[in-house]
Symmetry: C2
Subunit: 304 residues, 2 copies
């Protein structure tokens, strides 16, 4: 058995991330039993067909009972009621964690329900695809990506270390930071990009003078890149924006200020400003590729 | 010899698109001689090492002399001086075309210099990668993509058909439309996405509270998708925005109006509006994949 082995882990929510954790935990033999729960009977049935959990439970209490690690993988808007439901069933000494894209709101919603003797350590794996549901998961999703842990004041150091080791076992690199800083970092690296992508796809959809058929046919000229993340799960993303309002509005304000400068440069024909702006952005792309966070292949290595 | 064979074609500008045309024309045996010219001696030398042209010419007049098809593949800001330089050397009956991302400005800049007896047919292949230069080209770049021809009033029908056949020989599907409509369609499918991508990468770069290292490490959460097109050639893109001002400002205005609605929804916690917006954008992604304009593989099929 590896040192990071658990007798039982419970995964609450069996979509893309929950199912990927199960696949990756199984790949690395991180648990004797992987128990799964989902609020949807349909999702539970589909999860049963793929069989990435050892046990599946319609009863959320039964899922978490005796688990040494419980991971919430539902949309963050559902966390409060989940926390209330599982609290009486959590084992003493268990680690309660999650995968939500916001962390301040998770601490606000879940924290008050965590029983004494349970280690609450919020977490967020920086990984995903544009697909949703139990069929979308796969074992290598976290390989080489980062997982961020945001311990709360008083979090037990040994429990934090155990959770770190677990995420490394899933294939991730691990960072630890304050929840407030996490929410600002993710506002710029993830939440704003999604909002912008959803928005531009909506704008294209609504133009009267250009048909949707034209947008689709000629999308390889840039637009299609945005449609991938704009195809992400709507419930998850609604909950992100409802729960990271302040940081999202802060970076969106900066984005709008910067865009106004580019808009003026276009209107005034200021080629030097445009050229300078378009030049300095190349270095960030190169750094992302050099650090293994994206492929160097042209067009992301697409096959079509 | 295929029916779409030319004795000589001349490619003016040997970057990503020019070199890809040469590779693809050679693959399909579309020309007995492919002549190449570039204003940069360094690019000419690098093109010579890869050897995708049959002849290379520092003298632009010698490159186009006797060519039945001349294709301008330089940044559109250089077209006017190129047109002046080649006009005296163009063969009677030749087709003069280009690959510029804007078409109204190309007609404005090149049209006045086209000699009688030369068929001027602007064109734009909807294909590319984030890489630039003669080493970036490859034969399959246009396969399955669209090329748009924007004939001018009085364009000869047989010459238009010949150019259509040429682009099909390169692997493209071909559409014909008015230059004004082209410029509006591309403003939303290509120019606005690039402006937005350049802008968000710039915003991330300038934030004081989030380091560039953090942006890079956690970029797999959405941001990295934008950095690809924000790594595109700065000269080319400066010229696009200087030469499609009106259409870009029109779609940017719509984008800003739509973004204000989403911004208000975030500020006011309007989850229903967010959910509805995030739901309808999925259909466009599906249509793009169904029509073969993008891959269905998660994360574009990236290997890292």
């Amino acid at each position: 058995m590896p040192e990071n082995h658990f007798d039982k882990i419970a995964i609450i929510g069996l979509g893309l991330i929950g199912s990927s954790i199960a696949h990756a935990a199984r790949r690395a033999h991180l648990a004797k039993e992987i128990a799964g729960h989902d609020a949807s009977a349909d999702v539970l049935e589909r999860a049963g067909k793929i069989s990435f959990c050892d046990t599946l439970h319609a009863d959320i209490g039964a899922a978490v009972k005796g688990a040494q690690l419980v991971i919430l993988c539902a949309p963050v808007g559902a966390y409060k009621s989940i926390a209330q439901a599982i609290a009486p069933h959590l084992a003493q000494g268990a680690i309660l964690s999650d995968v939500g894209s916001v962390k301040g709101a998770v601490i606000r919603d879940v924290g008050p329900f965590v029983p004494a003797g349970v280690h609450f350590i919020p977490a967020h794996p920086i990984a995903g695809t544009e697909y949703s549901g139990p069929e979308a998961g796969f074992a290598s999703l976290f390989d080489g990506r980062w997982a961020i842990l945001t311990p709360v004041p008083g979090s037990d150091g040994m429990a934090v270390d155990k959770l770190k080791t677990f995420w490394k076992g899933l294939g991730s690199q691990v960072d630890v930071m304050d929840s407030g800083h996490h929410d600002l970092v993710l506002a710029i690296t993830s939440h704003l990009p999604h909002l912008i992508a959803y928005n531009i796809v909506g704008t294209a959809h609504d133009l009267e003078k250009v048909t949707e058929g034209e947008v689709i046919k000629y999308s390889a000229s840039g637009f299609r890149d945005f449609t991938r993340i704009a195809a992400s799960d709507p419930t998850m993303w609604r909950d992100v924006f409802l729960n990271n309002r302040e940081a999202v509005l802060e970076v969106l304000g900066r984005f709008n200020d910067d865009l106004k400068i580019l808009q003026d440069a276009v209107a005034q024909g200021n080629g030097d400003l445009l050229f300078d702006t378009f030049t300095r952005t190349r270095a960030i792309r190169r750094a992302i590729v050099d650090l293994g966070q994206d492929t160097a292949a042209p067009n992301f290595g697409r096959k079509s």
